[in-house]
C-alpha cells in the first residue's frame, strides 16, 4: 500500500492534527517509514490538493485537512449554531496570556486595570487554550498561565510568532512617554520553536530622542 495513500486516509479520518510521528506509527513496529518519506508524502499531498476546496495545512500540533476559508459562508450553514463570539474581556485576557506568557492572573489584572473574572480563566482552561505551566515564587504562589497548542490550532497558527505583532497607536502623549516599552517576549518553550513577534516597524509612541536612542534600555514593567 502506498505511503501517500495511507497518510491521506489517516489525515482524513483523524479528528485532530497528526504529527509525522503519528503517521509513522500507522505502521507496525519495524516497518515504519522514515520521517523524511512521510514529509515527502505530505508535500506531495499538499500539492495535489492545491486546487481543491480543502487544503492540507500544518498547524501547531501537526497536519490536518481543513476547508479553505473562502468556503466558510456556505459551510457555516451546515451548523445551526452561530459561531461563538468572544467578549472583549475574554479576548484581552487571552491576548495578554498569548503575548506575555507565562503570566499570573495578577499581572493580567495589572495590565487591564480591572479584575479578571474567574469565569474567563475557567473557560480558557476548559477550552484547553490556556494551561498553568508553573507557579511564580512570590507569596501565594500564583499560577503562571501560558497558551497551548490547541489555542494555536484553533487560530490556524503554527507558532506564536504567527500572531499579529503588538503595536500601539497612542502618539500624542509622546512627550511624557520617555520610557521605551519593552517589546513583550513570547517565550517559545511551550510550543514549537518560534521567534518573537516582530517589533512594529515604527513605534510611533516613542519620540526620536537622541538621549535614549540606542541605549537599548528596556524597563521591565513588573
Amino acid at each position: 500500500m502506498d505511503l501517500k495513500d495511507i497518510v491521506e486516509a489517516a489525515l482524513f479520518v483523524a479528528q485532530k492534527p497528526l504529527t509525522v510521528a503519528d503517521l509513522q506509527a500507522l505502521y507496525p513496529e519495524g516497518e515504519q517509514p522514515e520521517a523524511v518519506d512521510v514529509r515527502a508524502a505530505l508535500a506531495e499531498l499538499t500539492e495535489e490538493f492545491i486546487s481543491r476546496p480543502i487544503e492540507l495545512k500544518q498547524v501547531a500540533s501537526g497536519y490536518r485537512f481543513q476547508v479553505r476559508e473562502s468556503l466558510s459562508p456556505w459551510i457555516s450553514r451546515l451548523f445551526e449554531e452561530r459561531p461563538t463570539r468572544y467578549t472583549k474581556a475574554f479576548l484581552e485576557t487571552l491576548a495578554i496570556i498569548a503575548y506575555r506568557q507565562p503570566v499570573t492572573r495578577g499581572e493580567i489584572e495589572e495590565i487591564r486595570g480591572v479584575a479578571v473574572s474567574t469565569q474567563i480563566i475557567r473557560n480558557l482552561l476548559e477550552r484547553e487554550w490556556v494551561q498553568v505551566v508553573g507557579h511564580k515564587e512570590v507569596p501565594g504562589r500564583p499560577g503562571l498561565y501560558a497558551t497551548t497548542r490547541q489555542f494555536l490550532d484553533y487560530f490556524n497558527l503554527k507558532g506564536l510568532d504567527e500572531l499579529p505583532p503588538l503595536q500601539t497607536f497612542i502618539d500624542r502623549l509622546g512627550p511624557v512617554a520617555d520610557t521605551d516599552m519593552p517589546v513583550p517576549v513570547t517565550p517559545a518553550s511551550y510550543h514549537e520553536p518560534t521567534e518573537k513577534p516582530e517589533k512594529p516597524e515604527s513605534d510611533p509612541i516613542i519620540p526620536p530622542d537622541p538621549t535614549t536612542a540606542g541605549t537599548g534600555e528596556t524597563a521591565q514593567p513588573d
Binding site: F12, V13, Q15, I54, R64, F65, Q66, V67, R68, E69, L71, S72, I75, S76, F79, P83, T84, Y86, K88, A89, L91, E92, L94, A95, I96, A98, Y99, I111, R112, G113, V114, A115, D153, Y154, F155, N156, L157, L163, P164, L166, Q167, T168, F169, I170, D171, R172, L173, V176, A177, D178, T179, M181, P184, I205, P221
Partner: protein
Amino acid sequence: MSDDFEMVVQPAIAMVNGTPFTEMPLDLYIPPDALEVFLETFEGPLDLLLYLIRRQNLDILDIPIAAITRQYIDYIDLMTEMRMELAAEYLLMAAILAEIKSRMLLPRPENAEAEEDDPRAELVRRLQEYERFKKAAEEMDKLPRCERDIFELGGVDTSTVTVRKVYPEVDLEDVLLAFTEVLRRAERSTRHRIVREPLSVRERMSSVLARLKDKPLLAFAELFNRREGRQGALVSLLAILELCKERFIEIIQEEPLGELYIRIPDAAPA
C-alpha cells in the same frame, strides 16, 4: 493623528429610563442612570480613558480633576447596588488622576532628571501597555479561526475500518501469584474454607452448566462420555453431585426407574 482606531459607537447605546442614550459622555462625568451601561461598555477605567483620549481629544494631562473626583464620589451610594467591584476600579482611577493633578501642582525643580518623576509617566505607560493588548485582542479576533472561518473535517466515515482491540498481555505466572495472594489473605483473615477439589471437577461443573444453557433438560447419561473412561465418569459424577448440592441444578426422575434428567431449578428457593 489617525482616525483608524475610532471606537464603534452604536446609534443608541442603551435606553435609560425610556430615553435613548446615544452619546458617550463628553468628559469623565457619567450620568448615574447610565453608569451600569458604561461599566459594561468599557473594559475598565483604562479603556474609558483611552476612549476619551481618542474621542474627545481630552488632554489627560489637564483633566479637570477636582470636578471629576467630586462626581465620582457622588456615585458611591449608587454603586452599592451595582457591581461594586468594577465601580471600585473606576474610583481608583479617579484617585490616581487626582493624585497626578496634585503632584503636577507642586513646584518641580528644573532639571532633566525630574522628567522621569513626571507623575503622568506611569499612567501613560499603563495606557500604552493596555492599548497594545486591547489592539492585539481585536487583531486576534480577526484571525481566521475554527468554527467560524475554517472548518476541520468531520465527515469521513470509518465504518469500513475494523479496530483491533489491543489487550494487555498476561503471564500465567501473574495469575498464579494473584491467586496465592488471595489465598494468603483468606488464610489470614478467617479460617477460610478452602476446598481441595480436583480442578477437573470444577471444570466439569462449568461445562455441565454451559451445556444446560443451550439445552434446558439434559439426560443424565448424556453427561458421561464413554471415551473418558472411569476417571472421566467419576469426574462427571462428582461435578453433578456438587452442582446439585450447591443447588445449581436439580436431578429429576419422571417415573420410578425412569431416566434421570438434570435441569436448572425452576425458581429461586426463598
